[in-house]
C-alpha cells in the first residue's frame, strides 16, 4: 500500500468522527485532527484503534499521543506497515 492509498484510507476512517464537516472539504495532510476537524479526544482513541484494525498494526500510547495531524497518522502508519 503506498502513501496516497494510506492517506485516502486514513481520511475515510476519520471522516465519521469529524464534527466540523465543513473542514472535510479542505482536508489535507496538515489538517489538525482535534482542532480543525473537531474530533474529540475519546473519538481519537477510536480512530487509532481503527487504524490498528484496518492496517493490522499496533500503535503504542506514546505514538498515539504524537498524532496531531492527518499527515502524522499517515507517516506513523507507513512506518509501521513498512
Amino acid at each position: 500500500m503506498n502513501e496516497s492509498e494510506v492517506y485516502e484510507k486514513v481520511v475515510g476512517l476519520i471522516k465519521p468522527y469529524a464534527k466540523n464537516q465543513d473542514a472535510l472539504s479542505s482536508i489535507s495532510s496538515e489538517s489538525n485532527i482535534l482542532e480543525d476537524l473537531e474530533v474529540n479526544s475519546a473519538r481519537l482513541v477510536d480512530i487509532v484503534l481503527a487504524f490498528e484494525d484496518d492496517f493490522d498494526i499496533e500503535v503504542e500510547d506514546d505514538d498515539a499521543d504524537a498524532i496531531i495531524t492527518i499527515g502524522d497518522a499517515v507517516k506513523l502508519i507507513c512506518t509501521k506497515i513498512g
Binding site: 474529540n40 479526544s41 473519538r43 482513541v45 503504542e60 498515539a64
Partner: protein
C-alpha cells in the same frame, strides 16, 4: 499538589460550612426521604471507604455544573471529612467554566480541583492525567464524570463518552471504582444550576470492571463497562415505578 491538598484541609472548616449553608439555606437542597436517608448514604459511603481505603475513582453521572459540590455535601458531613481526611475527593472541573475569574480559581484551588480542558492537546491532556495519577498513587480519591461532559438529554450517554476513566484504571489497576447515580427528583435533568428546593436521589455501587484487553482497547472496554453500570443504575431509578415516584 501537596500544598493544595494541605490548604484544602486547613480551610475545610471555613469553606465546607459555606458550601453547606448554600446547599441547605440558599438552594434548600435535600436528599429524598423514602427508604434511604442522608444518614444512610453517609454510612454507606463511610463503610465503602473503610472496605476500600486505597485509591478510588468516584464515577458519577453528570447533569449540572455543581454536581461535585452536591455530591460532596451528601456523601459526608464536615466532621466526617475532618475525621476521615482521605474521604474528600479531588474534582475535575472544566477549565473554561470555572477558571475565568480569580475567585472561582481560588475556590477551585482550595476545593481540590484539577482543571481539565475539553479538546486539549495530547501533551496537555497527559499533564493533567499525570496529576490525577499522582493523586491516585497517594491513595487519594478522584471524583470523575465518565461521560466526559454533562448529558444534554438528561440521561447517561452510553454512545459518545470519554475513555479517561479507563486510561486512569490502566495505570492504577488496583483503584476501586465507586459508581454514583445522582439526580434531582423534582426537576432532575440537564441544567447549569439546579432549581432551589431540589431533592436528590443518590445510589452508590462499588464496581469492579474486568478486561483481558490491553492498552487503549482496555481503556475503552473498562470505560464502557462503567458507563453501562451507570446506565443500569439509571434504569433502576426510572424503573418499574415510573422513575420520579421511585425514590430511595
Amino acid at each position: 499538589m501537596n500544598l493544595q491538598k494541605a490548604m484544602s484541609y486547613c480551610l475545610l472548616l471555613i469553606l465546607d460550612p459555606v458550601v453547606r449553608a448554600l446547599y441547605y439555606f440558599h438552594f434548600r437542597f435535600s436528599v429524598n426521604g423514602g427508604k434511604t436517608t442522608l444518614k444512610d448514604i453517609r454510612e454507606k459511603y463511610a463503610e465503602i471507604r473503610k472496605a476500600h481505603p486505597g485509591p478510588m475513582l468516584i464515577c458519577t453521572n453528570h447533569l449540572t455544573y455543581i454536581d461535585s459540590l452536591i455530591q460532596a455535601v451528601i456523601l459526608s458531613s464536615t466532621w466526617g471529612y475532618i475525621s476521615h481526611l482521605s474521604g474528600l475527593a479531588w474534582n475535575l472541573p472544566e477549565r473554561k467554566n470555572f477558571y475565568h475569574k480569580f475567585i472561582y480559581r481560588l475556590i477551585c484551588y482550595l476545593g481540590r480541583c484539577i482543571p481539565v480542558e475539553r479538546g486539549a492537546s495530547p501533551a496537555d491532556a497527559r499533564q493533567v492525567t499525570n496529576q490525577m495519577l499522582y493523586v491516585l498513587r497517594k491513595k487519594g480519591i478522584i471524583s470523575i464524570f465518565p461521560e466526559g461532559k454533562r448529558s444534554r438529554d438528561g440521561l447517561v450517554d452510553d454512545k459518545d463518552f470519554s475513555y479517561g476513566v479507563g486510561q486512569l484504571l490502566n495505570e492504577i489497576p488496583d483503584a476501586s471504582v465507586l459508581c454514583v447515580y445522582m439526580r434531582g427528583t423534582k426537576d432532575g435533568g440537564f441544567t447549569h444550576f439546579p432549581k432551589k428546593g431540589e431533592s436528590y436521589y443518590m445510589d452508590l455501587s462499588v464496581y469492579k470492571p474486568v478486561s483481558d484487553l490491553k492498552g487503549l482497547r482496555r481503556a475503552r472496554d473498562i470505560s464502557t463497562q462503567i458507563i453501562s453500570r451507570l446506565k443500569e443504575m439509571e434504569t433502576n431509578y426510572f424503573g418499574s415505578n415510573g422513575g420520579l415516584a421511585k425514590v430511595h
